[in-house]
Symmetry: C2
Subunit: 233 residues, 2 copies
DNA sequence: CTGTAATTCAATCAATCGATTGATTTATAG
DNA sequence: CTATAAATCAATCGATTGATTGAATTACAG
């Protein structure tokens, strides 16, 4: 039976996710991974077969189900009402940035591994597209379609790109953004402020009425206020 | 005298820029670089000292002056007239995407090296910030200030982030975007179409009047038509 | 031409890489 | 307990890494 605790296996996955995402495949040795996991070098071959197979398993782990509740908000079901859809968009933006707070978070690992695959695609490329990008892109298009009902598919794709670009820019270039603007992205308030800017910019970019945008943001701020208040109690 | 042709040195720089940007520092060996340059391994030590020093020299080369006329449009001087400033913004967007056409282009190298430094900063981080990011960010803020005169500095920084995010998203995630949307980013027409989408989205995001945006894009299309016509002759 | 500095070359260095072995320890079933 | 399988371990494999040597070659001034 292979029904043991699997401590070593999961520890190797965890340490490899952290190291691979931070420094890339080639820069991380299997001894370093094993040490960080408190395991023996040979355990990598035993549990995964090879360094490459460990990397593929790590990517699959990060891009898997865990992620839809972590790095990206699920947008498969979105209300038809534009007002509610706008709230959903704002929450999506907040959600996408909020998980940046702890350094070395799951979001950071996910984003970093994605970028590294975009820079130099490996065998993991397809699995990222299938399991993460397509579902999220479809969800975002579904959401944007509620806000811009007369937009066709190519235009919705462009709009989704503009939204994702603003998010990923902050996720990826965090060190540059912090240096360039003198902001602290580990500060929840500054992070939320940035999310609300993207919300306003995006709702305007979609071509929505100013009154609609004003009310949406106003409503979102109240929701955040409630959320903060609830967490304080 | 050190006033020789310097063929080997520049060949090493060129090959290392390509290889480092495509596959990262750790994944590229000095033998591979020397072979691609048609040089001996020891020539790296002779001309640069070490592999790391070669990398630093390569980054400095890419981020240098060459770049302001290549990867990024110079925005240090922008007309005050909003109409002209809008044209400048559209040309900036076009310029930022147009150089993506040839695979392995200078823009691709510049973007890739930037991202790798954002993912895992090295000694080259500061030089990128000083020589490339700060000047470009200042230029973009200068330009956006003409279009949104009442915006304060932090807001302009946020707006610049939204613009840069949309550009970098396409630059970085090119393989993902092509797969996800079924587009071909080596096609100049599709690339310009994408630039014009970002232009419209951005001008709307800035909160400008629809008539102003319509005229700006209309005018830009005519400019592009003239440009194409001139190149055909 | 000769002499000197600049440059390139093949060969080799110790260190580290991923992978693998066989022995050992641990867990589980009968 | 014993027996069998699962898991971990220290030790080592050949290959490759970046770095370095000293000889050979080239370029150029006098």
């Amino acid at each position: 039976m292979s029904e043991t605790s699997g401590q070593t296996r999961s520890a190797l996955l965890k340490s490899s996710i952290t190291l691979f995402s931070q420094r890339g495949y080639a820069d991380v040795g299997i001894r370093e991974i094993a040490d960080a996991a408190g395991a023996n070098i040979a355990s990598i071959k035993y549990h995964f077969g090879s360094k490459k197979d460990l990397y593929l398993a790590a990517v699959a782990e990060v891009m898997g189900r865990n992620n839809s509740e972590n790095a990206w908000k699920d947008l498969s079901e979105v209300p038809d009402d534009p007002r509610l859809a706008a709230q959903e968009l704002i929450q999506f933006l907040r959600h996408s940035l909020k998980h940046l707070i702890p350094p070395g978070s799951s979001v950071e690992s996910c984003s970093s591994l994605m970028i590294r695959e975009a820079l130099h695609p490996s065998e993991a490329f397809d699995s990222i597209v299938e399991n993460l990008l397509i579902p999220n892109n479809e969800g975002l298009i579904n959401l944007l379609g509620k806000l811009v009902p007369d937009a066709d598919r190519p235009h919705l794709n462009n709009l989704a790109g503009s939204v994702m670009g603003q998010i990923m820019h902050i996720r990826i270039f965090r060190p540059f953004v912090e240096r360039l603007r003198g902001v602290d992205l580990s500060n929840p308030d500054q992070l939320d402020q940035m999310a609300m800017h993207i919300a306003q910019f995006t709702l305007r970019g979609l071509g929505l009425k100013e009154i609609f945008i004003f009310e949406a943001i106003q409503s979102a701020r109240e929701t955040e206020a409630q959320f903060v208040q609830e967490n304080k109690s």
